[in-house]
């Protein structure tokens, strides 16, 4: 009796916590179907699919989203490549100044974004680079690279150093060892780092706003739009992004489960052969 009560309370508590987390997201999705009149989309006025029919109707919004995705994509490529190599250097090689780099790489993580954004703007003005798409990209690479280094480093540190030595022992040069052994082994870490970089880049506002010039990104557009009213297309695109992410997460979970099941089957079959003693020759 007390046991079931405890279960019930725990269940209710969990639902409440999840509700608290997901309610805002649910509201965003719901209001993408709101038949709103006027500039604002804050009160429910009836169901419509018209926003979904043509989500890119607002050309500025479409342009902003395109910029955001393009910057996120390029940033992910550059930051992941550079960050992974930095992590490999920091974990696998000793060189002058490694300790300093190891510490400084955390700096962008701990510095307030306002400070970073303002400092970058000052730098760009000093060296006379016009702010815009390129400066946003440079800024994003600069601060997402730290996340990549930290993530990939954790993966590398958990990896048996002897595995790379074994590859070299078997005739692989440093480069071949990296390509054939190190990279495949740290791939999950690199992928996670890339996703993190993309996610942080897509929704960054503060640093981007300092260095954007005339270029508009998705977060910049929404922030600007809220001053005069929010078009429901924002909700549509936001919901679309959410669905894409949910789909990817779901696919990932399914894949992991299938791999785990296959491994378990193989392991089960190997037990019978493993227990057979070696026959003497």
């Amino acid at each position: 009796m007390r046991r079931s009560l405890r279960h019930w309370v725990l269940g209710a508590w969990s639902v409440a916590a999840l509700f608290y987390l997901f309610l805002p997201i649910f509201v965003i999705a719901l209001f993408s179907f709101n038949d709103n009149q006027g500039r604002f989309n804050f009160t429910w006025q009836g169901f419509t699919l018209r926003h979904w029919a043509d989500p890119f109707a607002n050309p500025d919004l479409a342009e902003a989203l395109k910029n955001s995705l393009l910057i996120a994509g390029l940033d992910t490529l550059i930051a992941t490549a550079l960050g992974t190599l930095m992590a490999v250097a920091l974990v696998r090689y000793s060189f002058r100044g490694r300790g300093a780099v190891d510490m400084l790489v955390f700096l962008p993580l701990s510095t307030p974004e306002v400070v970073l954004g303002a400092a970058l703007l000052a730098l760009f003005l000093t060296v006379n680079i016009g702010t815009g798409f390129v400066t946003i990209l440079i800024a994003h690479v600069m601060f997402t690279i730290s996340y990549v280094v930290v993530t990939v480093k954790a993966r590398l540190e958990g990896m048996d150093r002897h595995i790379e030595e074994a590859a070299m022992d078997l005739g692989a040069t440093e480069f071949v060892t990296f390509r054939k052994v190190t990279l495949p082994m740290i791939a999950p870490g690199v992928a996670a780092a890339g996703l993190l970089a993309a996610a942080i880049s897509v929704d960054d506002y503060v640093i981007t706003s300092f260095n954007a010039g005339q270029t508009t990104t998705f977060p910049l557009f929404i922030f600007g739009a809220t001053r005069q009213g929010v078009p429901a297309e924002v909700n549509v695109l936001g919901t679309m992004l959410l669905l894409v992410v949910l789909f990817l997460m779901g696919a990932n979970v399914m894949l992991q489960r299938r791999l785990a099941r296959r491994d378990a089957n193989l392991l089960h079959r190997s037990v019978s052969t493993a227990t057979e003693p070696l026959q003497a020759r």
Partner: protein, 388 residues
């Protein structure tokens, strides 16, 4: 190995290597890590086709020595030669030796088959040749049924054999084994010791085996080098090291040894007289003594060489004799082990084969005589000669 394979092995070997007797040669090799000396001015020669063991406690420098042969550590001083060629400055991938790591270091993302094929793929052999040799080597280690597995789906013993196959398939000049059986349970370890020895005899390549387990070294190796504090204390066959240890460290590391402090005395024909600190006179073969600094030495004898005699029984003529009291008697079934405290205070171990069927022949507290022939006596320097 068949003749055809032998011929092919020879044809795949790098050109220009003479029929050098010593396959692996270290000349005055030292390795220092930030203030500590791991390997101290080491000279070592390992013959082609030998099963050579580097034996010593952890931290004695044996693994570092192996890693310098493999190319994973650069010596601070000295040269490393493989088949007469100086490879000191070459990276691991330019050395004709392969390593079996203690942790196996299998590639977790590749199947057993691809793990084993890795070395051959780097040498750009053609696919059919690679497949044939991988198959052949997997058969040698009896893993052909598991070729499609990933390392995580194998037991420890199976992983160990994959690591062995992955190295052997390249037909290296020498195979370096770093505590290859350390992570396995006792039963499997015994089984694989025999297995490794058999494989080494089959393929006929040099094995350099690092271990801290004296029994393992004695079971498998033709020659053993006992390492201590970055140096080789003594090298030789198992029997030689056991019967004629030259230092107290070797005497203690290989089996139980009974050591008594003594002073070197006069030479008497083939024998040397020694006087123990409690006044007993012992004799030892002269060729087993020294060179020692000074006269202070320790006299030793292995536990199974000693006969126990009741007090008052006449000892065999010419035997070395010590007197003592039995402190502990342990019945072990096949033998009985006694701990005897001598007049001088040392506690010596004596093992008596249980052939009499009288486990209570000597009871605790009995006065006994320990007798053994002089030829089973060994003499070591009083202290290990390079104590820090």
């Amino acid at each position: 190995m068949t003749d055809a394979e032998q011929a092919q092995r020879e044809s795949t070997e790098p050109a220009g290597l003479g029929p050098a007797e010593s396959d692996i040669c270290l000349q005055g090799v030292s390795k220092r890590f930030a203030g500590t000396t791991a390997v101290d001015d080491l000279d070592l020669e390992i013959e082609r086709g030998a099963f050579f063991a580097l034996l010593g406690p952890s931290g004695c420098g044996k693994t570092t020595t192996l890693r310098m042969i493999g190319g994973f550590e650069a010596p601070t001083e000295g040269r490393v030669l493989l088949g007469g060629e100086d490879v000191t400055d070459r990276p691991p991938y330019k050395r004709d030796v392969n390593t079996v790591f203690q942790s196996y270091a299998l590639f977790p993302h590749l199947t057993v088959e691809r793990n084993v094929a890795f070395g051959l793929e780097r040498r750009k052999l053609d696919k059919a040749e690679i497949a044939r040799r991988v198959q052949e080597t997997l058969e040698l280690v009896q893993l052909e049924a598991l070729a499609g597995r990933k390392p995580a789906q194998l037991s420890g013993g199976q992983q160990q054999r994959v690591a062995l196959a992955r190295a052997l398939v390249n037909r290296p000049r020498a195979l370096l084994l770093d505590e290859p059986l350390g992570a396995l349970d006792l039963r499997l370890r015994k089984q694989l010791q025999i297995e490794l020895k058999r494989i080494q005899q089959d393929v006929g390549i040099t094995f350099v085996h690092v271990t801290h387990d004296q029994e393992e070294a004695m079971t498998m190796a033709d020659r053993i080098a006992v390492m201590h504090k970055g140096r080789i204390e003594q090298a030789g066959g198992a029997a030689e090291l056991y019967e004629r240890p030259r230092t107290a460290f070797v005497a203690n590391f290989l089996g139980v040894s009974n050591l008594v402090d003594a002073r070197l005395g006069e030479r008497d024909g083939e024998l040397v007289t020694l006087e123990t600190h409690d006044g007993a006179r012992l004799r030892a073969p002269a060729d087993r003594v020294g060179p020692h600094d000074g006269q202070a030495v320790q006299v030793g004898v292995r536990p199974e060489k000693v006969r126990l005699l009741r007090d008052g029984v006449a000892p065999p003529e010419d035997a070395n004799l010590l007197r003592g009291t039995i402190v502990v008697a342990s019945f072990l079934g096949v033998s009985i082990q006694y701990l005897v405290r001598t007049k001088g205070g040392e506690e010596l171990t004596v093992v008596v084969q249980n052939t009499e069927g009288e486990p209570d022949a000597f009871t605790v507290g009995s006065e006994v005589q320990l007798a053994w022939p002089p030829r089973h006596t060994f003499v070591v320097a009083k202290e290990t000669h390079h104590e820090a």
